[in-house]
């Protein structure tokens, strides 16, 4: 196969933002979180991403504010580096190379220029043991610093960052792992360990899950698997420790956090309720319920004004002092399985797939932003493990984007399957989908496929749903049956079956005049207006897996792939097999904007892609090993601006883009070289010279000046005239402590006068330089080099001498001295 160099597979958006604890900046304006291989800086007010700190080559595993400088932040990564960033400007300040993958990072005010990191124990890689290591960060101005000064602090720690915490500003360090808690005192250089029995008397699991230390008091809070929180006190002596238990959570506590003053303890878990316990009055607690999904991390801003909770659905909620949710930062939600597949909303061109449980998410691919969640199930979600809930399993849009059909199902072990088919109409006024019809139990068994008639111009759209009960049903929009109904609703128009076989897929032709339904190994073609069975096509053995009608000029072809490694193309005009080939196609999809079709073939662990036209024997494009693992869903999304690529191999990407989702939930796409160049060009325009602050004034004049400076070959700048100490003082002391102006005036005037004796030459020198700078500024076109200038100056001085016929003796003497000095100065300059 030919490798096409200019098309490559790229990751597209949607990285996890809930992977690690976010960090809120000291002024509560920014929220920083690890997101894939970068750190994202969000504004805590507008929810927008302000900067993306890129540079790591592995997954970022921790973000930490630098204790000594609150405008800088450390980030650590599995690539073995710790990087220091200035997050307000988004600049990488320094890179410390540690050399081992780093899993979490800690620091405290007591330990200056030391960070504590968790790395795997090198001795044996298989058992996954981790240790806490203190790293001395060398203070050098270099960009890249080797930080090899490691000293182990604790061994046998967990890689989970919420299991280690510093207490009382760094006096001691507490770590929990499984059933053991270890507290290490830095001063005494001694550690105490406490362990619990695996199960309590009541059968609760005692395993530690997280830890938090009180900032002022000697108190450590630990969370446990059975939902208990223990507050440990008096642990300075090994024997006399005590603990008290708080129990509200019904399953594991996933995160604990004390507020900066230590007055409150925050905890969160799978219940998605943020619990605020009063310290020392633990029976008083506040709740913030229904935060949407299980809480994974809880953090508090350094001033205690903002809380933030990370959730399992890739969301960060910012809460204003436990009362009100003020902002929600939502990433692309990737559940365990995307049952609806990838869809494109024809109206907003957004990618639509399963989001939160019971919701559909609309994700803008252009802006890499989640637009909104559409609540399909409209039921209270009960956060409880092992409870069967309604899940959205199928969704379909009609060609104009006016109608959305969704299927939700709930399967219980004993009871029968609950199915609901819902039809949503787009409301222009509210710009969202409104529920129009709910059909409970539309089929007796699971719905295997669902599609709308594709014809955009027809007045009535038809929805076809195929089910495992051996029937397919056609649904049509009908007139209201009751007068008290608001508008038209959908009802069943036709029920079709074929020899009791199970339909697996269905597909409408582009003009909506034909419907193909694949019944196991037979493809049936129906007329959707009269519901007549027109013909049957079959290519045994093997059940039909995918069906696609050709588009545009290839609309006479019907393609099908079966599970016996066959792809068949039938000509519908002659009802005969046009061609067939042996390919194990897992996914066959059609581009609605062109004749092209894409087929994903899964072969021994990797997936190949073929793009072809049904009418042509050779594929337009093929790529082996597009990604590892199976591709489970893919979709062609229409481009807003067409590309004008003339190269044959990338022409298929001109009108639309191909997005696909692998079994590891990675959203990938193909990008061409031209496209990347375009992106680069647009991003270059936005790059700003980092050395100068961006002000409106700079934008007006700075560029001009910049150009001018560029013309001068040396970066050497003329030193500014040194102002006298008095002026400086005068200008810098606050006005209210200054003496009277009249008193100062004479002093000020005096300071400006040229002193008669020793400072005289110096001042003259200064004046000259001021002049020269003036010249420089005045003449824009001056192309003189700096080196030529002193000669000119010298000339000027000489000229001055000639033009002044009458000079006193003292003046002459003075001038001579000046000349002497000048010359020496020039030689000094020339030497340099």
């Amino acid at each position: 196969m030919v490798e096409y160099g200019d098309i490559r597979v790229v990751y597209r958006g949607g990285s996890k933002i809930n992977f690690r604890k976010p960090v809120i900046s000291n002024d509560s304006r920014f929220l920083l979180c690890a997101s894939g291989e970068s750190v994202k800086v969000f504004s805590s007010v507008t929810e927008e991403c302000v900067h993306e700190l890129r540079g790591h080559t592995g997954q970022v595993t921790g973000v930490l504010l630098r204790p000594s400088n609150h405008l800088q932040v450390y980030s650590c990564s599995t690539d073995g580096t710790v990087r220091l960033w200035d997050f307000t400007d988004g600049i990488l300040v320094r890179t410390y190379v540690v050399g081992y993958p780093v899993y979490s990072i800690y620091a405290s005010l007591n330990h200056k220029e030391v960070v504590f990191i968790v790395t795997p124990v090198q001795s044996d890689k298989r058992t996954e043991l981790f240790q806490l290591v203190a790293v001395n960060l060398p203070q050098t101005p270099d960009q890249l610093v080797e930080a090899r000064d490691l000293s182990a602090v604790l061994s046998d720690v967990s890689s989970n960052p919420s299991t280690i915490a510093f207490g009382r500003g760094g006096e001691y360090l507490a770590s929990v792992n499984n059933l053991k808690m270890e507290i290490y005192f830095f001063k005494k250089n001694k550690s105490y360990s406490f362990s619990l029995r695996e199960y309590t008397k009541n059968g609760g699991k005692n395993t530690f899950t997280c830890i938090a230390c009180h900032p002022k008091d000697d108190c450590v809070a630990t969370g446990h698997d059975d939902g208990k929180i223990r507050l440990w006190r008096n642990f300075k002596q090994k024997k006399e420790y005590t603990y008290s238990t708080l129990h509200w959570h019904h399953s594991a506590v996933s995160s604990l956090c004390f507020t900066p003053e230590g007055t409150n303890l925050l905890s969160g878990g799978v219940e998605s309720v943020l619990v605020q316990w009063r310290y020392n009055q633990e029976n008083q607690k506040d709740f913030l319920p229904r935060l949407g999904a299980a809480i994974t991390h809880v953090t508090v801003s350094p001033d205690g004004a903002l809380f933030s909770t990370s959730h399992s659905d890739n969301k960060i909620t910012i809460i204003q002092s436990c009362v009100k949710v003020s902002a929600v930062i939502q990433g692309l939600v990737k559940g365990e399985n995307v049952t609806t597949g990838l869809l494109v909303d024809p109206r907003s061109k957004a990618l639509v797939l399963n989001g939160r449980p019971g919701h559909l998410q609309f994700y803008s691919l252009q802006r890499d932003k989640l637009l909104f969640h559409l609540d399909i199930v409209q039921q209270e979600y009960i956060h409880e493990a092992g409870l069967e809930q309604f899940e959205v399993v199928r969704a379909a849009f009609d060609a104009s984007g006016l109608w959305l059909a969704t299927v939700e199902e709930r399967k219980q072990k004993s009871a029968e399957l609950e199915l609901n088919l819902k039809l949503w109409s787009f409301d222009e006024q509210t710009q969202s989908f409104v529920l129009n019809t709910t059909v409970s139990a539309p089929h007796e068994a699971r719905i295997t496929a669902m599609c709308f008639s594709q014809a955009a111009d027809s007045q009535t759209t038809t929805l076809v749903s195929a089910s495992r009960d051996g029937h397919f049903k056609a649904w049509q929009l009908g007139l209201p049956a009751h007068t008290d109904d608001e508008g038209p609703s959908w009802s069943c128009d036709f029920v079709g079956a074929y020899h009791g076989l199970v339909p697996r897929c269905c597909c409408f032709s582009a003009d909506g005049s034909l419907l193909a339904v694949g019944f196991q190994e037979v493809v049936t073609v129906w007329n959707p207006t009269s519901w007549e069975l027109l013909t049957t096509l079959s290519q045994p053995p093997g059940d039909v897996r995918n069906l696609c009608f050709g588009q545009l000029s290839c609309s006479k072809y019907l393609l099908g792939s079966n599970n016996k490694k066959m792809v068949c193309c039938w000509n519908l005009l002659t009802c005969s097999l046009e061609w067939s080939t042996s390919m194990d196609v897992s996914l066959l999809l059609v581009d609605s904007r062109s004749e092209n079709m894409a087929a994903f073939c899964c072969q021994d662990g990797s997936t190949d892609l073929f793009v072809f036209k049904p009418s042509e024997p050779r594929p337009l494009f093929s790529q082996k090993a597009v990604c590892s693992g199976r591709v489970i869903h893919a979709v062609f999304t229409p481009r807003e601006v067409m590309l004008e690529s003339s190269e044959e191999s990338s022409q298929w990407l001109n009108r639309s883009q191909l997005y696909f989702l692998t079994e590891f939930m990675d959203l990938l796409t193909f990008s061409t070289k031209a496209e990347e160049e375009k992106l680069m060009a647009s991003s270059k325009q936005l790059v700003i010279d980092d050395t100068v602050a961006m002000t409106p004034f700079y934008l007006l004049l700075g560029k001009h000046r910049h150009e001018h400076l560029g013309n001068e070959e040396s970066a050497e700048r003329t030193p500014l005239p040194q102002s006298s100490v008095a002026i400086k003082e005068l200008l810098q002391t606050p006005a209210h402590v200054l003496p009277a102006t009249s008193f100062l005036c004479s002093m000020f005037a005096k300071s400006l006068l040229i002193s008669v004796t020793e400072t005289r030459e110096e001042n003259k020198h200064v004046d000259e330089e001021m002049e020269s700078e003036k010249e420089e500024e005045d003449s824009d076109e001056e192309v003189e080099t700096k080196i030529s200038r002193p000669e000119q100056e010298a000339k000027g001085v000489q000229g001055g001498e000639s033009t002044a016929p009458t000079l006193t003796k003292t003046q002459v003497r003075e001038l001579r001295r000046v000349r002497k000095q000048d010359l020496s100065w020039i030689t000094g300059l020339l030497d340099s």
Partner: protein
């Protein structure tokens, strides 16, 4: 923080009659006023002039009733025998009636004695009507003849002897004073023109014709006879347009509503059916106590008057729209001022606005569900008025509890009274197909939980035995129904022709499986 999502009460498909605009319109009548007449009410005719009195012909009398009176304002009793067909002239001044004794009598509405008597028929006259010319009378009789009479002179003008059986109905044209149509027991309808000697058009109804009706445009003629109502297009030379068979006994009377959009037919099967005249579908149905002989509809559909064989006259008056407002005064609510208190306050420029979140209103059971009080939620859902008036709410709450996996907890730990209330509800709604799946699981769980206490309480045992009996009965029904369905299926399979799938010749060589469309029946889905 998302707000609590309340329990969804599914919009269940309504059982029984569908509510359409027509049902609302035709149901908007008061309870009927029933008046006992002396014999079977054979004819009802409304006066064309206000106040639209109506003449009711029953036995040997003709009563004239006012629009709202329950007592006759006028009575004509001077008949020797049974009177037939008392009809008003177009000015409402004169009334004509036939009689069993073959004499046609003409009355002044104000007077008492007959003004004129028209003698000439030899048998009972069942039809008498004024022509549009106002000075002639049309009569038709059991002696197979139709005659035209001059009113002032009481002279017979013309006699038509074309029918070969009793002539029992006739109608005169409102637009043309010379045209009239008669229907006879010889199954024919004949259109006569008084200027010619013979009938100008003949149509075959197929059954003895009982009633005739001309549309206001007079392009269409409706005839009723036997179980059929037929519509004829007169402009196309008497072409049959529709034949309606919605009654299961002889249709006796026809009427058209004031707008001309609805056709009413009354029958001996005690029903009055309302048809839509655009598609001739039945849109409404009235039931009466006895076989109906006559039907009258007041102008503007103000009242429906029906005469029956058991000599009862039933008058339904239209409900006035203003009336219910006056009668049922709404409960006194807090005044407008209370609700608007502080709402219309306009904040000044430098006021700091503290917004108060709007409180979500939740139903009682939702409040309990929000607090995870599952047993209490079920108790509130089983409150008397809720389980009687809105069983779907109770069922929805049970379903929601089941979804939360806490139905068992909610059902357990109940005392005798609570349990019997629950069982009452289950028994009452078990066989409502909309609720069966949910209530079946509930009943199962109840039996699981309380099987150890069976026999301790007489009340509970009685309920359980009742439930068991009902179940047995239902299973028996279902079995029967399945048998019938099987029989029907075999009948359908025989009657349906086998349809060949069109397959081009080449396809055979391609290994195509030939198949036929399985019997596909469109299925109405509840939405």
């Amino acid at each position: 923080m998302a707000s609590f999502k309340p329990t969804q009460i599914p919009d269940l498909p309504k059982l029984g009659e569908k509510i359409t605009e027509d049902t609302l319109y035709w149901k908007n009548y008061k309870a009927p006023v029933q008046i006992k007449e002396f014999g079977a009410v054979s004819n009802i005719d409304f006066s064309p002039v206000s106040p639209h009195n109506f003449a009711v012909t029953a036995f040997t009398r003709i009563h004239i009733y006012g629009p709202f009176s329950q007592e006759p304002v006028k009575t004509f009793t001077r008949f020797k025998d049974t009177a037939y067909c008392g009809r008003f002239r177009s000015d409402g001044q004169l009334l004509v009636a036939g009689c069993e004794d073959s004499v046609v009598r003409l009355y002044d509405v104000g007077g008492k004695a007959a003004l004129r008597m028209y003698k000439g028929h030899t048998k009972a006259v069942h039809v008498a009507d004024f022509t549009t010319g106002r000075y002639q009378i049309l009569t038709a009789s059991d002696d197979y003849t139709c005659r035209l009479w001059d009113i002032p002179n009481a002279v017979e003008l013309t006699a038509y002897q074309e029918h070969t059986d009793y002539v029992r109905c006739g109608v005169t044209s409102k637009l043309n004073r010379d045209l009239f149509i008669t229907g006879s027991y010889d199954h024919t309808l004949r259109v006569f023109d008084s200027r010619t000697e013979k009938s100008v058009m003949t149509m075959d109804h197929g059954q003895p014709v009982e009633s005739l009706l001309l549309y206001p445009s007079e392009g269409l003629l409706v005839s009723a006879g036997g179980r059929y109502v037929k519509v004829w297009d007169l402009l196309k030379g008497g072409q049959p347009l529709v034949s309606l068979k919605n009654h299961h006994k002889t249709v006796t009377c026809l009427a058209l509503n004031s707008s001309g959009q609805r056709l009413l037919s009354a029958s001996l099967d005690r029903h009055v059916k309302v048809y839509n005249t655009t598609n001739y579908k039945v849109v409404h149905n009235f039931d009466y106590a006895a076989a109906i002989l006559s039907l009258g509809l007041a102008p503007d559909d103000e009242s429906i008057v029906v005469g029956m064989t058991n000599s009862i006259l039933s008058i339904k008056h239209r409900k006035n729209l203003e009336e219910p407002k006056e009668t049922s005064k709404p409960r006194r609510r807090p005044s407008y001022r209370v609700f608007m208190k502080g709402k219309n306050f306009v904040p000044k420029q430098d006021d700091y606005f503290v917004s108060k979140p709007a409180r979500q209103h939740l139903a009682k059971y939702d409040k309990q569900l929000k607090r995870f009080n599952v047993s209490k939620a079920l108790d509130t859902a089983l409150e008397a008025w809720l389980r009687r008036k809105k069983p779907e709410v109770t069922v929805a709450v049970i379903k929601e509890l089941d979804r939360r996996g806490t139905l068992k907890n909610a059902l357990a730990g109940r005392d005798e009274e609570q349990l019997s209330r629950l069982l009452c509800f289950v028994i009452g709604n078990f066989f409502d197909t909309r609720f069966t799946p949910v209530l079946a699981t509930t009943a199962e769980i109840v039996l699981d939980i309380y099987q150890c206490v069976i026999g301790q309480s007489a009340v509970i045992d009685r309920h359980l035995i009742h439930l068991q009996k009902l179940l047995e009965k239902e299973i028996y029904y279902q079995k029967d129904l399945m048998e019938i369905l099987g029989m029907l299926d075999t009948m359908f399979a025989f009657s349906l022709l086998r349809k060949e799938v069109p397959c081009p010749g080449i396809s055979g060589s391609n290994g195509l499986v030939q198949g036929e469309a399985s019997t596909s029946r469109p299925q109405l889905q509840a939405t």
